[in-house]
């Protein structure tokens, strides 16, 4: 069992700006987090909250220009990923940090066989011979639960179903036995049954291989089921973070509460309308100087329009970036838990 306390990835104050002709877009504004060996960190937020860009920026996968990545350090294995030369970073990508993307229909190259695409990192990073890479690729396909793996290596992606393709993507990401796997909404494009299968597979692989996983999603149900810790993002910032039990039991940031309120209930009255959070996440043309959620927040008060709240610790590794969590604030000023409308 790996040492659960030691962080494999320690990111401090990561920032990313897209400098476009239409103006700057500040997509990531000072994100700090750590990932401990063997744990699963869930990253939640709406589309446009900066979840994916954060992870891509870490590994130099955002196109630059227009993107400018700054801040840091982002320490992986004692080295700052943001300041590594491209050649060094390439040796980490795909070898020690694996990626699984959202849409398995388009994430595999249609003109190469599945076997070729799994063998590519094996040959590049581990310098395996063609024969050894092929044997390993067949093992990997079998590992992710594809029957008749050795024969299917010569098939093309279009000959696989969506769920099978996502399994292939996972096999590619796991090829070189990475310490960290970043899964960017890996089940969003799949139907519910296949989603469940992929989740089960991931849980099983994690138990067997012991890598740390960053799981990006907007599905809170998934996070509740698999994550150790959860990080909620909004406006390119972490607005709440903590062990999954604590965050789900005592959500503190109004955005986290609103997110939890949007999850439809299976039991209870059926006639209730689906909850939604009014409005759109902000597109920031300057670094935020006030709370980014103020315009959509039911509890916003005057200070929220002047101050960008820091992350206030709430105990047990739980913290939230909301002025209402400021310990200096009188108890009567704390927000009431959101009551479901009748």
């Amino acid at each position: 069992m790996p040492d659960r306390a030691a962080p494999v990835l320690d990111v401090r104050d990561l920032r990313t700006v897209f400098r476009t002709r239409a103006g700057d877009i500040h997509a990531v504004n000072g994100v700090s987090f750590e990932l401990r060996a063997g744990e699963l960190l869930g990253v939640v937020g709406e589309s446009g909250s900066g979840k994916s860009v954060t992870m891509m920026a870490l590994l130099g996968l955002v196109p630059s220009p227009p993107a400018v990545v700054s801040g840091g350090p982002a320490l992986f294995d004692g080295r700052d990923l943001l300041r590594l030369p491209e050649a060094e970073l390439r040796r980490i990508r795909g070898a020690r940090i694996g990626f699984v993307f959202q849409d398995p229909m388009t994430s595999l190259n249609p003109v190469f066989t599945v076997g070729f695409q799994i063998m590519e990192p094996l040959r590049r990073h581990l310098r395996l011979s063609r024969r050894a890479a092929r044997a390993r690729a067949a093992e990997l396909l079998a590992l992710v639960g594809i029957p008749d793996a050795a024969r299917r290596l010569d098939d093309y992606p279009h000959q696989f179903s969506g769920g099978m393709r996502q399994r292939v993507m996972i096999a590619v990401a796991l090829a070189c036995d990475p310490q960290v796997l970043i899964a960017d909404e890996p089940t969003t494009a799949l139907d519910v049954t296949i989603q469940a299968q992929i989740l089960e597979l991931m849980a099983e692989l994690r138990a067997r291989l012991g890598m740390a996983v960053i799981w990006i999603t907007h599905d809170l149900g998934v996070i509740a089921g698999i994550a150790d810790r959860v990080m909620v993002m909004y406006g390119g910032q972490v607005i709440e973070h903590g062990p999954v039990e604590a965050v789900f039991a005592r959500p503190t940031h109004p955005y986290t509460r609103a997110l939890l309120a949007t999850v439809p209930k299976v039991s209870g009255e059926r006639s209730r309308r689906l909850q939604a959070i009014e409005g759109q996440p902000p597109i920031l043309s300057a670094p935020p100087e006030a709370c980014t959620f103020r315009d959509r927040c039911p509890h916003a008060f005057e200070t929220c329009f002047r101050l960008n709240p820091q992350r206030y610790p709430l105990g047990e590794g739980h913290d939230a970036a909301c002025l209402l969590a400021d310990p200096g604030l009188a108890p009567w000023g704390r927000p009431e838990p959101r009551v479901a409308h009748g």
């Binding site: 990508r93 795909g94 993307f101 388009t106 994430s107 190259n109 249609p110 003109v111 093309y156 590619v172």
Partner: protein
């Protein structure tokens, strides 16, 4: 794939017969008389006799049938005789050119090398420079290189070859005297000296046509590369730690070539058709020039045969393009 190819070849037969009939009827309806440029002093009965000798007194369908027989049976038989020394075509009438009084195919075989050398070389050169330019333009979109490439492509595509051709002749033949302005067909390449001379006389027509071809194909290549550079699998390749070189030249290029190869294949028949205008400008007596003079001389068998051969090539290369498409893209299966 083989079954598909055979089916397509079979389907090509009615298509080609229809094209042949349309060409024949159009030429038959066209004004003009092959006797028109004979002296007026020829007595009418001699004139009628001459028409009969050319087969012009027969009804249209008989002449069309005879032409088909000659094109599809006699001429291939002549080719077989020529290759294997057999005597299949002995005593059979071949398609005769009214203008040259010799078999149409013999004239075409004489003219083909010039066209293939000049126009074919221009196509090859055009493709070979267009592909790297397209790749570079796409990977450095909006860079100085891309801007220049776009500008040159626009100029190459929009300025007609009869203008660039004459301009080059003015500069390089008249003023500088570096290249001859007239293509000498009689030049035989026997030694180093004559080879250099051949290169010199090919340089300008090849450049003019290559610029035009490259302008077109580089735009296709650029667009196709840009299309693919935005795809998710490119991000996957980068996330796998592939170096940029491999991402571009393996992952993206392989996908981008699919539509471009089709465009290149579809352009090949035009090479055989010759570049009518450019051949005129540089006095290359290839197939394009042959067709123009045949039309002017009312040489109907020549026009009919050349036009039909272009039709055959177009149908054939359409098939080649489709087969290549299926071969390059594993998602396409024809069976």
């Amino acid at each position: 794939m083989l079954a598909y190819t055979l089916r397509r070849l079979l389907m090509a037969v009615p298509t080609l017969l229809f094209i042949a009939a349309v060409i024949f009827l159009l030429l038959d309806l066209a004004p003009g008389d092959p006797m028109a440029n004979q002296p007026l002093t020829i007595p009418p009965e001699v004139r009628a006799e001459m028409r009969r000798a050319l087969g012009l007194d027969e009804p249209t369908h008989v002449r069309f049938g005879l032409w088909l027989w000659q094109f599809f049976v006699v001429e291939p038989a002549v080719l077989v005789d020529h290759l294997f020394g057999t005597t299949l075509a002995e005593g059979q009438a071949r398609i005769l050119s009214w203008q040259f009084r010799s078999p149409v195919m013999d004239v075409i075989v004489q003219r083909l090398p010039q066209t293939l050398w000049v126009v074919g070389m221009a196509y090859v050169v055009g493709v070979l420079i267009a592909i790297p330019i397209g790749i570079l333009s796409a990977t450095r979109q909006y860079s100085v290189f891309d801007q220049i490439g776009t500008f040159v492509a626009m100029v190459g595509f929009s300025v007609p070859t009869f203008f660039t051709g004459v301009l080059l002749i003015m500069i390089f033949s008249v003023k500088l005297g570096w290249f001859p302005s007239i293509y000498d067909t009689r030049l035989r390449v026997t030694d180093w000296q004559s080879f250099l001379q051949q290169l010199r006389q090919m340089a300008m027509p090849v450049f003019v046509l290559a610029l035009y071809n490259a302008a077109q194909i580089s735009r296709y290549m650029r667009a196709s590369m840009l299309d693919n550079l935005g795809q998710d699998y490119v991000r996957t390749a980068r996330a796998k730690g592939e170096p940029e070189r491999s991402v571009i030249l393996r992952h993206v290029l392989r996908n981008s070539m699919i539509p471009v190869v089709t465009v290149i294949a579809l352009g090949v028949p035009a090479v055989f058709g010759g570049a009518i205008i450019t051949e005129q400008v540089f006095k290359v007596n290839g197939l394009g020039q042959l067709l123009i003079t045949a039309i002017q001389a009312n040489d109907l068998p020549m026009v009919q045969t050349l036009t039909f051969m272009f039709a055959v090539l177009i149908v054939l290369f359409n098939l080649v393009a489709d087969v290549l498409y299926g071969w390059l893209d594993p998602r396409i299966r024809y069976d």
